[in-house]
Subunit: 223 residues, 2 copies
Amino acid sequence: MISKYALDRDDVTLSGRLVRSMRDAILAGDLKGGARLSEREMTEMFGVSRGLVREAVQTLAAEGLITVVPHKGPTVTLLDRHAAANLYRVRGALEGLACAEFATRASDAQREELFAIFKRLESMLGKEDPNALVEAKNDFYRCLLSGADNEVLELMFTQLNNRIVQLRRLTLSASGRFSVTLQEIGAIIDAIRNRDAPLARELAEAHVAAAAAVVQRRFDNSD
Amino acid sequence: MISKYALDRDDVTLSGRLVRSMRDAILAGDLKGGARLSEREMTEMFGVSRGLVREAVQTLAAEGLITVVPHKGPTVTLLDRHAAANLYRVRGALEGLACAEFATRASDAQREELFAIFKRLESMLGKEDPNALVEAKNDFYRCLLSGADNEVLELMFTQLNNRIVQLRRLTLSASGRFSVTLQEIGAIIDAIRNRDAPLARELAEAHVAAAAAVVQRRFDNSD
DNA sequence: ATTGACAGACTGTAGGACAATCTGCTTGAT
DNA sequence: ATCAAGCAGATTGTCCTACAGTCTGTCAAT
């Protein structure tokens, strides 16, 4: 058992914080898809040595967030329509699993928390607050994954989600979609409440497929 | 379209080869679970500078193959019973997706190749050649993933599989299991032949669950 | 207009230096 | 004898410098 008061060892090293900062910069859109990340620029931008930058790049490359071409330097991985479709297919499988596992294994407290977060989401209908919405969605997934009690799934889902974040901007801005989203999630919540894992899984997969369809349509429009 | 004659740029850098070497060393079991990987030892073992070792460690850590504890150094990630169960759950979801996608989207040539590899597997029943068996299984999955035509899935499945390799030794050595395995895979093959994606998926998930059960039983015995 | 050579910029790799931290052992007090 | 404090050695964390290898754009020559 790890002490409740143990320091957060994930944060003590500069490397760790650098990886987070770079990841956040990409997820926040400050470093856009396709942007070149020369070592020199990065050392200036984050105020650390070249060695640390190179280590961080390796980490993010392994996560798929960055693409490294030898002797040309890393770039922020660009998502085309095909890659987007593939990401969503895998995400459907993982999110389905997460919902099924949650329905089967989550504790009562975790269930209540999930329901509460959903209520918070519902209360946002009509209001226009993208930041709060994104945060609530993040809470939702965090709770879902924690209840699924599977660190492997958590890791892979998080990695996948990080890559999808760039695309989520597209789905969120699709007006009128939010109420549909709420209905879909509501159905999943009901299935979880009834501990119906297969149904929860099926609904979750359908939900992701619907989101994927929206993204694909966006690609059509911008081509 | 990338030229057929383009050099393999994945291998030109020492870093790239080092990552491969270290990964292979872990997968081959030369670096066992829990083994400590001090930077000094690694520089001597692979004959490269400390910087390269650190970069490679970052990459493999992001893949989950090694665990880094600040100021104590990296170790080969150790799999306990809980982690093993979690790995197999996720693997079930991904392998199910891969089979379904293959059934739906693979070309005729890819189908034929998969069937041929399966025949090769069948011919191994009775003979005792673990190496050839592992290689044939690898070919099987390579073909499966290539037919699923989803690089994201391919990446995640490969990462997952790398972590499971340590455990696969346990399932393979389970005598009498191989003929059952063949039957299970044979059923999947039939479903793929009939282009029945949902069935292929279901069977694949059941197949993984069976393998997971074997592993769990092994954990019981060795405790 | 195409080719070829050159220069500048950037990455790839090595190795050293010092600070921060951990671990185990010794020492000292109770 | 036991336990706490503290010291020493080893290891990692971080930065810096240096040089070789590779890419890209430019400019002259054909």
